[in-house]
């Protein structure tokens, strides 16, 4: 992931729970790529078919609340969405998001200033910019950014194991 990137916005409301992201009954679909075809199926039925890799979700508070189901983050990442900007994130989704290779940015200022289809620009650890407005954002911890750059925790772990083998 670059330190500066832009993407087309998908606007989401407050309190988007994990069942909204992917209904529990879809959880038995054997692989995540297939499962992702049902992402947001009730809230944004057009999402799965029309979302493009690099698109960015902009949401309200408490994004990802509800169960600890990892697949909620997994289906978003499987659709190539690697950044979510929200007013706040639910605790376990915060972990699962990064672990799935998604950059989660907390910002509560841009939601009223942008709509679906607008382009938002992110400068990691610096700011977010949309429609002529710019707001600062907190630093993402280095270890978490590294996980996102590696494409998720599994790759990050493989990379670490690889290093360990070399040292030995």
């Amino acid at each position: 992931m670059d330190r500066t990137f832009s993407g087309k916005i998908w606007k989401m409301p407050d309190d988007v729970d994990t069942d909204t992201i992917i209904p529990g009954k879809r959880g038995t679909i054997p692989n995540i790529k297939e499962m992702s075809n049902f992402a947001f199926e009730h809230l944004r039925p057009e999402f799965a078919a029309t979302v493009q890799p690099g698109d960015i979700i902009v949401a309200g508070k408490n994004f990802g609340c509800g169960s600890s189901r990892e697949q909620a983050a997994g289906v978003i990442a499987a659709k190539g969405v690697t950044c979510i900007i929200a007013k706040s994130f639910a605790r376990i989704f915060f972990r699962n998001g990064f672990n799935s290779g998604i950059l989660l940015i907390e910002c509560d200022k841009i939601q009223d200033l942008c709509s679906d289809g607008d382009v938002v620009t992110v400068e990691v650890n610096q700011c977010v910019r949309v429609n002529g407005h710019e707001f600062p954002v907190k630093k993402i911890p280095d270890n978490l950014f590294e996980i996102v750059q590696d494409g998720g925790l599994v790759n990050n772990c493989r990379k670490r194991l690889g290093l360990a083998k070399e040292v030995k």
Binding site: C65, R91, R95, N96, P141, L144, C157, R158
Partner: protein, 420 residues
């Protein structure tokens, strides 16, 4: 500068001198627990990663409690076999198969310890905070990596202080305390935070009561729930208090919120359909007919819970056309309940006894109900569809209320029996 309990535990384990909320620390958890819902998924991820070894198999336990005894034909044996495969491949020896609920075993076996860090693939991992252990749940992928590396990062949370004063009145119990708090702060009222229990009332509570409260604190979105360590903790773990008495909140620690409760003012509470935080005093719900009563779960399946219920059911019968299911939380609780005559009391009253396991709490086949039936359970969740159909109604309450309700066939408290 004072620290909260969670700050102290995290910085000690991570080996840093100072932390503030928001800091990321890298910890080495002392204990990892996996239960049998996640064994197959964990096995898949570990294979995907391609790890041949895990960091320290002695720090890992696999508990077979959700799918054991096997009760869902197509599923449970797969999860069971995956657990055995994991144990064999990675040299995990601490296996507990059909011995009881994971969260109960974690403190019964003294795997989760005061001042240490435990993590598990389950939300109610917060339970061991009753013993001053920082314990919280994580997802399967994260658990796989944590097992391989031995490390887990945490963001230091803010903390809410709950001061408990005074003494509970007869038959008002720990469960009523935590339900009351959930009703006040709601299902996201402690989102991301550490709930820390202090005050003379907290110290008066038994270990089982503390585990009950820490268990259900999760339902407020808490990252963890911690009780200060004291003589009771030391006695439970059979270790000198001096080795663990640092596990307490500093006087000048900074809390985002302080709540105070006078336990003398508390009366029995219920979580009503369909949310854990839809809390009402018992006086508002009394008389509501029930079809089934469930005594058990990691929240209220301890010997203390069995004792309270047995004392109320002694010499009494479950109401006609009401089913009463008893699920001791562990083999130890089961055997003690037999030895102390509680099981005999339950059976003579008309109860059905199931083997220690998660049972009906998570919707396994142990008393599933149909449309428009009502269950009163001592478990920790009452989401729609959890214990039957979408139209099954679930009330959550304490073991005392459960026992009284089983006898009268409607929501009741023990004092109603003496008047009946």
């Amino acid at each position: 500068m004072g620290y909260t309990i969670v700050e102290k535990i995290l910085k000690k384990n991570a080996g840093v001198d100072h932390v503030v909320p928001g800091d990321i620390v890298i910890t080495k958890p002392n204990m990892f627990m996996i239960h049998d819902i996640y064994t197959c998924y964990l096995k898949d991820v570990l294979e995907e990663i391609g790890a041949e070894n895990i960091d320290d198999p002695d720090r890992v336990t696999i508990v077979f409690d959700h799918c054991m005894p096997t009760a869902v034909a197509t599923n449970d044996s797969v999860h069971y076999q995956a657990g055995l495969d994991l144990a064999k491949k990675y040299g995990i020896e601490k296996l507990h198969i059909g011995e009881g609920i994971c969260h109960t075993l974690m403190h019964e076996k003294r795997y989760a310890r005061p001042g240490e860090i435990a993590t598990a693939t389950d939300s109610h991992t917060t339970t061991y905070g009753g013993a001053g252990c920082f314990s919280t749940g994580i997802g399967t992928t994260e658990m796989a990596v944590a097992l391989i590396t031995g490390e887990l990062w945490f963001k230091v949370p803010e903390a809410i202080k709950v001061v408990l004063k005074g003494t509970l009145k007869d038959h008002t119990l720990a469960k009523d305390i935590i339900i009351k708090i959930l009703g006040d702060i709601r299902a996201d009222g402690a989102q991301y935070k550490s709930i820390e229990f202090t005050g003379s009332g907290a110290h008066q509570l038994s270990m089982d009561s503390r585990f009950t409260i820490a268990n259900m604190a999760l339902e407020a979105g808490a990252k963890c729930a911690l009780f200060e360590v004291d003589e009771k903790t030391a006695a439970y773990y059979d270790i000198p208090l001096s080795t663990i008495d640092w596990v307490k909140a500093d006087q000048d620690a900074v809390y985002s919120q302080v709540l105070e409760y006078n336990l003398e003012d508390l009366i029995p509470q219920l979580s009503c359909p369909q949310g854990v935080d839809n809390v009402h005093d018992i006086v508002e719900i009394k008389g509501q007919k029930v079809d089934e009563v469930y005594l058990g779960s990691c929240t209220n399946g301890s010997i203390e819970d069995m004792a309270i219920a047995a004392s109320i059911l002694q010499g009494r019968k479950v109401a006609d056309y009401v089913r009463f299911i008893v699920a001791p939380a562990s083999n130890h609780v089961f055997k003690e309940s037999i030895r102390l005559g509680y099981m005999k009391t339950f059976i003579e009253a008309g109860a059905v006894i199931i083997h220690p396991c998660c049972g009906l709490c998570c919707g396994m086949p142990y008393g599933l109900l149909h449309d428009d039936e009502v269950i009163l359970s001592t478990a920790n969740r009452n989401f729609i569809g959890r214990m039957g159909t979408k139209k099954t109604l679930i009330y959550l309450a304490s073991p005392a209320v459960a026992a009284a309700s089983a006898v009268l066939g409607c929501v009741a408290e023990p004092s109603d029996l003496y008047m009946a």
